[in-house]
């Protein structure tokens, strides 16, 4: 039940963010529904960590709690360099929906966090313009969101999250709504971008391949209520490439993770 993967805590990097004993329950119509149960996990400085779990297991609630949108019933969340106050506005959070404002152009959607901080529009636009190439948005800066493909909209949302200038990014199934091909391209793109980002990332996904391909470490969560069931260190070398999907090590890790997940599916 505890940790199933090979973990060596001595070589683990310094924790940038650490969750201890996080529990949360919703009460609906007098019934108590436990969603999170004593969740313990951490992400090191600059580490890419995935949370894998069955759909509807409470992964999004967990991210909402980390982001500060919802309060946990018990437990603590420590983020290095952050005091005790509200975590709202202190973490980058990209939700599953792109949540672009239909009345703002691509560029103006991206600079929203800068604008909210009081940076002048012209300076904010200048900064965003320096990133449009890396985000594959060149030529679309002045377009309104409805004219964009799903992958592009997602990249605009990601650029917006990045421009919030936070050290920790929470990504909630960012590629979940995309078709398989676009999804693979986006994963490849994120891998390429990843090295230069130097961010601590917590990615929520139900896709085992995505978790393995992108992350340094993955936690497997149980079905509701979500608990940490296993932890797997992904020993694949970086930089990662899509063709690693068929490497021996990848297949071994995948079967290991799937076994844990499937066991969970039977229990649920």
């Amino acid at each position: 039940m505890e940790s199933g993967g090979p973990v060596n805590s001595e070589t683990a990097p310094r924790a940038k963010i650490r969750l201890q004993d996080i529990s949360k329950a919703f009460s609906t119509g007098g019934r108590r529904l436990a969603v999170l149960e004593r969740v313990d996990l951490y992400a090191g400085e600059g580490e890419f960590v995935s949370l894998v779990g069955p759909s509807g297991c409470g992964k999004s609630t967990l991210l909402n709690v980390i982001a500060g949108l919802e309060a946990a019933d018990s437990g603590t969340i420590d983020i290095e360099g952050l005091g005790g106050g509200s975590r709202l506005g202190q973490l980058g959070y990209m939700q599953q929906k792109d949540l672009l404002m239909p009345w703002r152009t691509v560029l103006d959607n991206a600079i929203l966090p800068l604008e909210l901080r009081g940076v002048s529009r012209s300076r904010a636009r200048e900064r965003a313009l320096g990133l449009v190439d890396a985000f594959g948005l060149r030529g679309f800066e002045g377009q309104l969101p409805f004219a964009l493909s799903g992958g592009m909209r997602q990249r605009v949302a990601f650029l917006r999250t990045l421009l919030a200038d936070q050290d920790v990014l929470l990504l909630d199934e960012p590629f979940g709504a995309l078709d398989a091909l676009t999804r693979a391209r986006m994963q490849e793109w994120l891998l390429g971008l990843w090295d230069s980002l130097k961010k601590t990332i917590i990615l929520v996904t139900h896709d085992v391949e995505e978790a393995l391909l992108l992350s340094d470490r993955a936690y497997v969560l149980t079905a509701r209520p979500a608990r940490v069931k296993a932890e797997v260190v992904v020993g694949l070398p970086r930089p990662r490439r899509l063709d690693m999907l068929v490497s021996e090590e990848f297949v071994r890790l995948k079967s290991e993770l799937l076994a844990v997940l499937l066991e969970e599916g039977r229990l649920g």
């Binding site: 949108l69 506005g89 959070y93 949540l99 404002m101 604008e115 909210l116």
Partner: protein, 276 residues
């Protein structure tokens, strides 16, 4: 490049054709009805005081232009001032209702109740309280026009996507920033829907206000023309009121297009995507 230009041109031609197709039938119907009206009046030799022919109304519009114009300006002023008042009060009221449970519970029922009282019944009271001048008409116009503005604006402010609010909060947005950068833009299309209804009923409000008691305005002109059987003048006034209403409506619709370009392109794109 060439193909794109060609495509653009064809789209424009199609748009024009669609436009013509939209306007041609109503224009033809109006022309047919006017012709029928003119023909029947002449055929049965209907006296002008009973039912003037369209041509007679045209002559009246031309001959009494100065008189009609003077009264038109009076009515137009009542409409615009009353409408502006309704817009100002309506928007603030809507914001209050959308953000305060207390205001929603206490004021919203009265906003709705105010519409069940016939304005024509209040108008004479306004005459007693405010006299024969501009103010009672302005109040009547505002009373009618503020309702669609408030109801639509409240709906608009409440239709904000909760996930969008969450997104703003994780970016550290203040309540005021969420209001100005998210809720106001979201509610604008709703506000314009309400405003289009409001401007159309504003003209009706002004005429009702004038009927009850006035010294000038197109509604007043109608009431003083009837006893003298100046029927063509009554029709001329109706014609001007109708044109005024249409032009004001078009002006608001135009402003909507200019201030919400994203809303209309998005809608057109969706409609185009669905059909093609």
């Amino acid at each position: 490049m060439y193909r794109r230009g060609m495509r653009e041109w064809m789209l424009r031609a199609r748009w024009l054709a669609v436009g013509a197709w939209r306007w041609l039938p109503p224009a033809l119907i109006v022309l047919c009805l006017l012709g029928l009206w003119e023909g029947l009046v002449r055929l049965f030799d209907v006296p002008g005081w009973q039912l003037p022919a369209p041509s007679a109304i045209g002559v009246e519009l031309h001959d009494s232009a100065a008189l009609l114009w003077g009264h038109t300006l009076v009515t137009l002023k009542e409409v615009l001032v009353g409408f502006a008042l309704a817009l100002g009060v309506g928007i603030y009221l809507a914001i209050g209702i959308a953000y305060s449970r207390l205001l929603e519970r206490s004021i919203y029922p009265f906003v709705i109740a105010s519409q069940t009282i016939p304005v024509i019944a209040i108008a004479p009271l306004l005459l007693i309280w405010l006299g024969y001048g501009l103010s009672p008409k302005v109040v009547v116009v505002a009373l009618i026009a503020f309702f669609p503005i408030v109801v639509n604006m409240v709906d608009g402010l409440k239709s904000v996507d909760a996930d969008m609010v969450s997104m703003m909060r994780t970016l550290g947005a203040s309540r005021w920033q969420i209001f100005t950068k998210l809720q106001v833009p979201t509610s604008l299309p709703f506000l314009f829907s309400g405003t289009k209804i409001a401007i159309a009923v504003s003209v009706i409000g002004a005429v009702i206000g004038e009927w009850v008691g006035a010294r000038a305005g197109l509604g007043y002109l109608m009431t003083v023309s009837v006893p003298y059987f100046l029927t063509a003048r009554v029709f001329a006034a109706i014609f001007i009121l109708s044109v005024m209403g249409i032009l004001l409506f078009v002006a608001v619709a135009l402003m909507e297009r200019l201030s919400l370009p994203w809303y209309h392109t998005e809608r057109r794109q969706r409609a185009g995507g669905a059909s093609g």
